[in-house]
């Protein structure tokens, strides 16, 4: 779960990492007030998109009037598809240099990775490899101060900045570790008046560890529909096609989308009904699909833990209570397959046993529905 910049900076501050003076702005009046209390400010849209600056999400205000005007212009604006509700006003910095630092989990090494660069201020993906210092953390040791010094030394830093940077690595790792972060990044890590300041910050938290951090501000940038399905406890991603899809298992769900695409169709969503979901949640999920008003619905089930008769029952339940006013294609094999197929057949629904055939049929029906 990504945290807004102002939340990320709050975390940095709590760990003793210097951040610029700043405050949240939700109205034009607060924009004016921010300039009154902070002087000239940068007003930064609090949205979770990269390249925010280039997209017009960061503007400046010298006077209170400007603060008011800029805030008015920015609040409610659309930034790469996201509505801007809040701005974060920050003292404008006189930046001398821009560095980069982050801690993240390296999936292949299966351990934390500290990345640092003298080329800050741009996305790290755009920095040449030989300009990035990478240091892997041994999780049995953690990050002791020497580790920070080694990174500072590898960057060629000296004097005060060397010491501040080394110290910052230790603190950043503590945030990563203690807050269960997937990523904590300071970019740019600015040098202002000869000292380090976190000019921008990202903090992505591990959803699976949220139970350990009950005070976390929950940020769900998903669409209304996505939020709704997340609340049922299922994995759901909205796509831009017209064939609604339900499958059991994340891999199966992905493969089902691929199959639709393969036959020339366009999937409307990713929905993993789970490896062993029972009748209730399966029906709820199907209800959501119906509510999307797709051109067709494809249900693709390989019954392992999931029982085919449960899935059939869920389908029949939705058919009976809400109705399914669009073409429905069901592929049903595996555990209790015969019972499930029979149930559907009794209700006039023919089940497929081959995934390919089912996907092809769903695409055909969706096209016919045009």
């Amino acid at each position: 779960m990504k945290q807004y910049e102002y939340l990320a900076k709050g975390a940095l501050k709590a760990y003793g990492i210097p951040i610029p003076a700043g405050q949240l702005v939700s109205t034009p009046e607060e924009g004016a007030q921010a300039v009154a209390s902070l002087g000239p400010v940068a007003l930064k849209a609090q949205v979770l998109v990269g390249g925010r600056g280039k997209a017009g999400g960061i503007r400046f205000a010298q006077t209170q009037q400007e603060g008011y005007d800029v805030a008015k212009a920015m609040i409610g604006m659309d930034l790469k598809g996201y509505r801007v509700d809040r701005l974060y006003a920050e003292t404008k910095l006189a930046i001398e240099r821009e560095l980069y630092i982050s801690v993240t989990t390296d999936r292949n090494a299966k351990r934390p990775l500290v990345m640092a660069s003298l080329a800050g201020g741009v996305e790290i993906e755009d920095v040449a490899d030989d300009q990035i210092v990478k240091a892997y953390v041994d999780p049995e040791v953690g990050v002791l101060p020497y580790f920070g010094r080694e990174v500072a030394s590898a960057l060629g830093l000296e004097g005060t900045i060397f010491k501040e940077f080394a110290d910052l690595v230790v603190k950043l790792y503590r945030i990563y570790r203690e807050k269960d972060a997937e990523l904590v990044e300071i970019n740019p890590l600015a040098v202002v008046d000869g000292h380090l300041v976190a000019a921008d910050a990202r903090l992505n938290l591990d959803d699976s560890a949220l139970y350990r951090h009950p005070d976390t501000t929950i940020v769900d940038e998903g669409s209304a529909l996505e939020r709704k399905v997340h609340e049922i406890g299922l994995a759901y991603v909205e796509l831009d096609g017209d064939i609604a899809v339900m499958a059991n298992g994340a891999g199966m769900a992905m493969a089902t989308l691929d199959a639709i695409q393969y036959f020339g169709g366009r999937p409307a969503n990713f929905l993993d009904a789970g490896g062993g979901a029972s009748v209730g949640p399966t029906a709820e999920a199907l209800d959501v699909l119906v509510s999307m008003k797709p051109k067709a619905i494809l249900v693709n089930i390989f019954g392992g833990i999931t029982r085919c008769d449960d899935v059939a029952a869920a389908i029949l339940q939705v058919k009976k209570t809400s109705g399914i006013p669009v073409p429905l294609v069901v592929r049903l094999v595996g555990t209790n397959e015969q019972e499930g197929v029979a149930l559907l057949k009794a209700a006039g629904i023919e089940a497929y046993s081959e995934m390919a055939e089912a996907a092809e049929q769903a695409v055909r029906l969706a096209k016919e529905a045009l």
């Binding site: 292949n108 992905m254 392992g304």
Partner: protein, 291 residues
């Protein structure tokens, strides 16, 4: 006749008294697995499906000589369970739970490395060796049959789909391993492929991958060393960037983890990459010597 797990493996079930633990203990016994004990604190002395329950792994290992453990405890307790197994001499740990915090997985994997323990998962369906009639996992029993095809997969149901299609095509499996859908898991494609390389019963390998990370790219070069033909199928062609597709690990981040990059790497090192799951069996048949 298998990798990692064979008929001599003496298995304990951590969290045996929970619904999932109890159900899958029954399934494992039905398949033929040698489940010698279960763990459930303060429930020591009971029997579940005829299997003796112990308060601790220590007691279970002492009493039964167990060397493998499958973990069914809820995610917040999974790290504790994994360490309990590892510190008490268990050398194969299968971690079923999903939603284990990544920092916990990092700790588990690091400790496993230090102690020489093989961890399968977390967020895996487990491991099954059909020729040995033994399994540690939650996969359905009936979809596998004994044979020469090694399967290593990142996702569960999709691997069932593929295993079943192999079985239906009379292409049995030596061992099927689920690496797990989390960003940090105990195995890599390479570590599993190394085992398949050394298993004379495996003559061909199927890799079932997906978007996210670079496990497939990392493995590609190893295919040259493997010395056995590989069919790869990867899911997620239609997935958009920046969205997590169910698995915590299935996400294209910052331009990394795309299917294109993975398929290109695998092809470059000799794998036959198919684009749809139903094409796997056909490709495998083409690689096996005709009898």
């Amino acid at each position: 006749m298998s990798i990692l797990l064979n008929r001599d493996s003496r298995i304990i079930v951590q969290g045996i008294t929970g619904n999932q633990g109890r159900f899958h203990t029954r399934q494992m016994l039905a398949y033929g697995s040698q489940v010698v004990g279960g763990i459930s604190p303060t429930k020591g002395g009971q029997q579940i499906e005829g299997v003796p329950v112990f308060d601790t792994v220590h007691e279970a290992v002492t009493a039964t000589g167990a060397d493998a453990s499958i973990v069914f405890v809820p995610a917040p307790f999974a790290k504790d369970a994994a360490f309990e197994a590892m510190e008490n001499g268990i050398r194969l740990v299968v971690m079923i739970p999903e939603h284990i915090p990544v920092q916990d997985s990092i700790d588990i994997v690091a400790r496993a490395k230090a102690l020489g323990v093989t961890v399968i998962g977390p967020n895996t369906f487990g491991i099954i060796s059909p020729g040995e009639q033994t399994k540690m996992g939650i996969m359905p029993n009936h979809i596998y049959r004994s044979g020469p095809v090694g399967v290593v997969a990142r996702s569960g149901t999709l691997s069932y789909e593929i295993a079943f299609s192999l079985t239906n095509a009379n292409l049995g499996q030596s061992t099927v391993v689920g690496m797990g859908g989390d960003p940090v898991v105990g195995q890599t494609f390479i570590t599993v492929l190394e085992h398949f390389r050394n298993d004379p019963a495996t003559t061909c390998v199927v890799m079932v991958g997906e978007i996210g990370g670079s496990a497939e790219e990392e493995a590609a070069e190893y295919l040259e060393t493997l010395g056995k033909p590989v069919v790869a199928y990867l899911a997620g062609r239609a997935a958009p960037a920046g969205k997590r597709m169910g698995h915590a690990g299935a996400i294209i981040e910052r331009g990394k983890g795309t299917l294109e990059s993975k398929e290109k790497a695998l092809r470059a090192h000799g794998a036959e990459v198919v684009t749809m799951p139903w094409q796997v069996a056909e490709a495998v048949r083409g690689m096996l010597p005709s009898k």
